[in-house]
Subunit: 209 residues, 2 copies
């Protein structure tokens, strides 16, 4: 297998931490997003959506989308489990991972990509350019803060986001919190549960990935 990564980008970082938590060492290729390598013919053949991460399997076929890549890796390397063990726990990890993607990661992407000077004409990831919408950047900022309040509420009764065990949901949320620092949004002062969780998760060895 080969992992197509970009060391500076938030989405593939979810896979990097996942690999680190499992102790998997895998051939990794850096894709230079700054110079537009994701739009090359070679990369398009692996993922026509022109985004990292991509996992190339041994038969040459490719998987994209973080959730699909991590599901595949979990099946190949089950220990330690990061997607839950029982049927119910697995569903809760998926539930939280989806909420974190849709309420957290996509809100952050709206906030960042619709305001960053270097992303003019590139407000949406992928193969086609779209102009920035400043109002959407502001909505994204508000939604990130709403999301942090939501996580804080969940973490009042729960050690980890999806329950008693560390999971992919914690990895995804960690990436959102660190991504939010790019637009100078931190963990709110009053979000004590989120702050407690963030301290614990960022201290894990895998968090440096």
């Amino acid at each position: 297998m080969k992992f197509y990564d970009c060391k500076t980008a938030p989405s593939p970082r979810r896979v990097r931490i996942f690999l680190a938590e499992k102790g998997i060492d895998i051939e990794t290729i850096q894709v230079d997003l700054a110079s537009g390598e994701q739009f090359s013919d070679e990369f398009r053949q692996m993922n026509p959506d022109c985004v990292v991460p991509v996992l190339q399997l041994d038969d040459g076929s490719c998987l994209s989308e973080v959730t699909a890549i991590c599901q595949y890796l979990e099946a190949c390397y089950p220990e330690p489990p990061l997607l839950g063990t029982t049927v119910e726990e697995r569903a809760r990890v998926t539930m939280w991972n989806t909420k974190i993607e849709q309420q957290g990661l996509l809100s952050m992407a709206d906030a960042f990509r619709n305001s960053a000077k270097g992303l003019s004409g590139r407000a949406v990831t992928g193969s086609r350019g779209y102009e920035q919408i400043p109002e959407l950047a502001e909505r994204g900022r508000q939604r990130v803060q709403q999301f942090f309040a939501r996580l804080d509420g969940q973490l009042a009764d729960s050690t980890y986001i999806a329950g008693a065990n560390f999971s992919m949901a914690d990895i995804s949320a960690l990436v959102v919190v660190d991504f939010a620092a790019w637009i100078k949004i931190g963990v709110p002062d009053k979000a004590a549960n989120l702050a407690r969780w963030y301290g614990e998760i960022s201290a894990r060895p895998g968090a440096v990935a």
Copy 2:
């Protein structure tokens, strides 16, 4: 188990078709989104994000998010499999389902919710109101058309979206195509592969759900 649905809404329709394809008969409760029943204290306790669908388990706990609900149902009712059978096929269904959610369903939601008169101040689903952004409605329309072209390309070499077998990815994409009719976007004339697929999938008995 109890399924909290709204018969007119696209997201829970994904679960309705999933249940119909498996022949599962489950107690179903209609949530009246038009009158704001999703914001009631009772519903918030089941899903603080104030959206359907919700699956209430026999112990009273609740699952939200379509992907999580369908993963749980697949484990309880494995036949016929709708999330893939081999490790690789399962990952491909997840990959396509994620692409369809993020490129198709969310683009449609952007287009519809940021333009529909009845959704003024409610441009984002969930517990908090956001004003409509007309530019985002237009971007959403463009992205839906981009998504249809993407699906058409995938279906040139593939009977179903995620490969040789009917899956959740086909259900999700069917819901997007039908949802797009709400804003008068149909399958493009030149998208012959998508048209072939759409004809087949909409003729399945489960599609009426």
